[in-house]
């Protein structure tokens, strides 16, 4: 940790000490009390240079030397205030992060709003180690994406977001901290080269994997369930005033798979999650109906994006119960 970072941690610690470190409520406006300012590394070098210049001016009695130094001091002070002004009044209206598979970057989306008639150049939004640059025109708003690296399945808390700027001269940095009360759901990374989908453990005894392209083979109607794909709703029947029914096809009927956490003996939790993820994705890709059993319980057989998301979320958080 270099000197600048150490210095920057000070206001944060002070806030912690004062017990003001709770998560930030949105929308948040950047007001005077939230903006911190400290010299940057370049600013410190600049300051040192000014001191040397001043000593030179004093020693050689150079009036214009004094003038030059004082002009630069004035410019640095003005830059400090302008840095502050560059952040003042910005609104952070919304934060959003969508689930991703572990290993892929999760995109944190920050809706930043500039209600004033000032252009806000060179804003740096930093979250953890990732940083994005943005410029907001007068009276505008923008979604700013910050890619966050993910490694582990489960809930990943979004670290504190720092909205800062070093504009105009790069000599001082002004920043404000936002502690989002936000977690990113990270799905397990699907196992590469996973074994093919299990076949022998179909739950329904009548289950036979006959054909996969059997969407054409209409088999009959059954009462509609919420998880059914809208593509399979018998709209004609519904339009003629009948109840909402789902068309059943031959291929689906017998291919309801049970993907079971407990059947994968000899694998660790993460490995099981990875394999099941690969299977769930494969089953969804094949248009099959699949059920998922994890230590948390059983998800009934279904298919479709909603079911996929539910399964993946289950798998992201699943843990074996050890006695």
């Amino acid at each position: 940790m270099n000197l600048v970072e150490r210095l920057e941690a000070i206001p944060d610690r002070a806030a912690a000490w004062l017990g003001r470190r709770g998560p930030t409520k949105l929308p948040m406006q950047l007001t005077q009390g939230r903006i911190y300012i400290l010299p940057s590394g370049a600013g410190m070098a600049f300051g040192m240079a000014l001191i040397v210049l001043l000593i030179g001016a004093i020693n050689y009695g150079l009036s214009l030397g004094y003038g030059l130094v004082f002009l630069l001091v004035g410019a640095a002070l003005s830059a400090t205030v302008q840095s502050f002004r560059n952040l003042l009044g910005l609104n952070i209206t919304r934060l959003r992060i969508d689930p991703v598979f572990a290993g892929e970057p999760a995109t944190l989306q920050i809706l930043l709003e500039n209600p004033t008639s000032l252009r806000r150049p060179a804003l740096r939004l930093r979250c953890g180690t990732a940083e994005s640059l943005a410029t907001l025109e007068a009276v505008s708003s923008a979604d700013i994406d910050i890619p966050l690296p993910t490694t582990q399945r489960g809930w990943m808390p979004v670290p504190a977001i720092r909205i800062g700027t070093r504009w105009p001269l790069g000599l001082v940095r002004a920043w404000s901290l936002l502690r989002p009360d936000l977690n990113c759901l990270v799905y397990p990374a699907p196992e590469a080269g996973a074994p093919p989908l299990p076949q022998g453990n179909s739950r329904e005894t009548a289950g036979r994997l006959t054909r996969f392209s059997g969407d054409d083979d209409f088999a009959g109607l059954r009462p509609h369930r919420l998880t059914d794909s809208p593509r399979h709703v018998a709209w004609k029947a519904a339009a003629s005033g009948g109840p909402l029914l789902t068309k059943e096809f031959a291929a689906q009927q017998g291919t309801s798979l049970l993907l079971d956490w407990h059947s994968l003996h000899g694998l660790g939790d993460d490995a099981r999650a990875a394999r099941l993820t690969a299977w769930v994705l494969a089953a969804e890709g094949l248009g099959m109906r699949y059920a998922l059993r994890t230590p948390e319980g059983l998800l009934d057989a279904a298919s479709g994006p909603q079911h996929l998301r539910t399964c993946l979320a289950r798998l992201a958080l699943a843990r074996s119960r050890h006695a």
Partner: protein
């Protein structure tokens, strides 16, 4: 560039050209080979500078190295960090420019340089900005920096003198008069239009015939060259002042000598660090390495040298043996049966007049006996020929005589009233010593060219002589002279008020404001107070929010606020018509007026623009102004 060794300048220009070419080609990635090349170049240039100056740790080699390094850094670096480092180097280089020159144009140049430096930093931080907008941002920064500049400049505690011993080469100045005079040495100075000193007279100006500014006094003569003789100095003048007195403030340009070029003959002064030499010069304790201002007085009619010791006078009669035989013969003739020294002086002057000598800027070269050749053969000479010849004549007749060099005359700047004495006013005259009357000034040049003394050099020269440009007649030269005078008045004000701002002037300024400037604490408190005020103003500027929306929005806003005070605040979801209807329901007496206002606003805001829009807007403004809820 002008102050660097030429080859360093050439190197810098070549390097910058190369870099420009690279930028133009869009190929600015620096490879390993380039870095190595840059390193080698840096070493080569450093070596060259060492060879050029013979030493390394000093001001001039330092500046040369700095300039070269800056150019190399630009070539080598491509990251923003490199550029920032280059900007700092540029600031140092800018300061080094002030060693040589602190005039107004240089100040303007430095201001432009600082602007460019700031613009570069802005562009580094905000690469999306166009160059013009970066320049505008930095212009705003500069504008906001100016009050700080003024306050800090006036109130930052000034320290007298250097913090540590300056290296010998720290100061450089123009040297005017030298310690010796050979034929031709003064006519070189005449070509220079530079200012030697300025004098601001408090009251009356001395008459032109008394404007003699004393420089080196030359009393050693080797037959060709006159040179100075070591003298003693004391704090008080070696004479008792008499006659009319002239008070003036003298500003001497730096010339690296102790000479103060005072008007003959300086009286006792309250100024410290000044002494009077026995040859009547006024000397500073240290060489004049920066522009020096002093309050002085002069008593031109004072008799001087009444009690000069015999050995000094004997020295002033010395001539090298066998030199100037024809002059000796002449003087033997002239001094025959002359009653006293004054008669001899008069006869010698008469002889010079009858000789029809010509005053000219371009005298012919003289041989081994310059005085004889001038007097009897060529008859063409400049003031050094006249004074040298006359002093030799006096010495040949046994009268103590010496040559005094300095400046004679001076012109008044019409714009600020100061008397300006230039290098071109350089002159040489003679002093002879006569029993009971002391040293008397005799200006033999006046015989051949009386106008030289009364009206200046330009009028004294024969028409055929080519004058330096500024001395010519004609409209163009007159306009140029006018512009020069105006410019010099400005430069003088700049020199006195800005460049010459020191501890003393700071104290004067503060006591002018009613503060005790001598006390550091007062100074610091004033400084901190003023800076805080400025910062507060800057912060207020930053916090100030311009009202949002256009005039119409503001009007509507005012109306809503007024109703809110009345207990009927507009809900965020309510449009103007709904709001008006609600008000009409809850407060019937206002209904008609509120409906009218809301409809008018809605039409103006959401309707298409029509020819009568401005009129309607005015009408709405009037209605809202007149409206007060009942």
């Amino acid at each position: 560039m002008a102050y660097l060794p030429p080859w360093v300048s050439a190197c810098c220009i070549a390097l910058l050209g190369w870099q420009a070419l690279r930028c133009w080609r869009g190929d600015i990635v620096s490879g390993r080979l380039l870095r190595l090349l840059v390193l080698l170049l840096a070493a080569a240039i450093a070596g060259g500078i060492r060879l050029q100056f013979g030493y390394f740790l000093g001001k001039d080699p330092g500046i040369a190295l700095l300039a070269a390094l800056l150019c190399l850094k630009l070539l080598e670096g491509s990251s923003s960090r490199d550029l920032r480092a280059a900007m700092l180097l540029a600031l140092f280089l800018q300061l080094s420019l002030f060693f040589n020159d602190q005039t107004l144009p240089v100040a303007a140049l430095a201001l432009g340089g600082a602007l460019c430096t700031l613009a570069t930093l802005v562009a580094l931080e905000d690469p999306a900005a166009r160059p013009l907008s970066a320049l505008r941002s930095s212009g705003l920064l500069m504008l906001q920096a100016l009050p700080f500049l003024v306050v800090l400049f006036m109130l930052f505690p000034r320290l007298p003198g250097p913090l540590w011993g300056l290296p010998a080469n720290a100061q450089s100045g123009v040297t005017g008069l030298s310690d010796f005079m050979a034929p031709g040495s003064i006519s070189q100075l005449i070509e220079s239009d530079e200012i030697a000193l300025r004098a601001e007279f408090a009251g009356e100006l001395p008459p032109p015939s008394q404007r003699y500014w004393r420089g080196p006094v030359l009393s050693e003569f080797d037959g060709r060259v006159w040179s100075v003789r070591e003298t003693l100095a004391s704090r008080s003048p070696p004479y008792a002042v008499r006659g009319s007195r002239y008070d003036y403030v003298s500003t001497v340009e730096p010339h690296n000598q102790r000479l103060l070029l005072a008007l003959d003959f300086p009286g006792t002064t309250a100024q410290s660090g000044i002494s009077h030499a026995s040859d009547l010069r006024l000397l500073a304790d240290r060489p004049v390495t920066r522009r020096t201002r002093m309050v002085l007085s002069a008593y031109p009619e004072t008799p001087v040298g009444l009690n000069d010791p015999a050995f000094e006078l004997a020295n002033a009669r010395q001539l090298p043996p066998q030199s100037s035989p024809r002059t000796r013969a002449l003087m033997a003739q002239l001094s025959a049966n002359a009653g006293d020294a004054q008669t001899i002086v008069d006869r010698a002057l008469l002889f010079l007049r009858d000789q029809n000598l010509t005053y000219t800027l371009s005298p012919p070269l003289l041989g081994d006996e310059p005085v004889d050749e001038f007097l009897f053969d060529t008859g063409l000479g400049f003031c050094e020929h006249f004074s040298s010849a006359f002093a030799v004549m006096m010495r040949a007749a046994g009268i103590p005589a010496r040559v005094v060099t300095g400046y004679q005359g001076g012109t008044i700047n019409r714009f600020d009233g100061t008397m300006v004495i230039r290098q071109s006013d350089a002159h040489a005259w003679v002093e002879v010593w006569i029993e009971d009357r002391g040293w008397l000034r005799v200006d033999p040049t006046a015989l051949a060219a009386p106008d030289r003394i009364e009206r200046g050099l330009s009028n004294a020269l024969p028409d055929s002589d080519t004058r330096p440009f500024m001395m010519r007649s004609g409209v163009v030269a007159q306009v140029m002279r006018d512009m020069r005078d105006r410019w010099e008045a400005l430069a003088n004000a700049w020199d006195i008020n800005v460049i010459g701002f020191n501890q003393q002037r700071q104290r004067d300024l503060l006591s002018h404001l009613g503060l005790d400037g001598a006390e550091l604490r007062t100074l610091l408190l004033t400084l901190v107070g003023t800076i805080s005020l400025l910062l507060a103003a800057l912060l207020a500027w930053a916090l100030h929010r311009r009202p949002q929306g256009d005039a119409l929005d503001r009007m509507w806003h005012r109306f809503c606020k007024r109703m809110a005070r009345h207990g009927l605040a507009r809900l965020p979801s309510e449009g103007p018509i709904d709001y008006a209807e609600r008000i009409a329901r809850e407060s019937p007496p206002n209904a008609a007026r509120v409906r009218a206002i809301a409809r008018s606003y809605a039409r103006l805001r959401y309707g298409a623009a029509a020819a009568d829009t401005p009129a309607r807007t005015r009408e709405l403004a009037h209605r809202i102004r007149e409206f007060s809820p009942q």
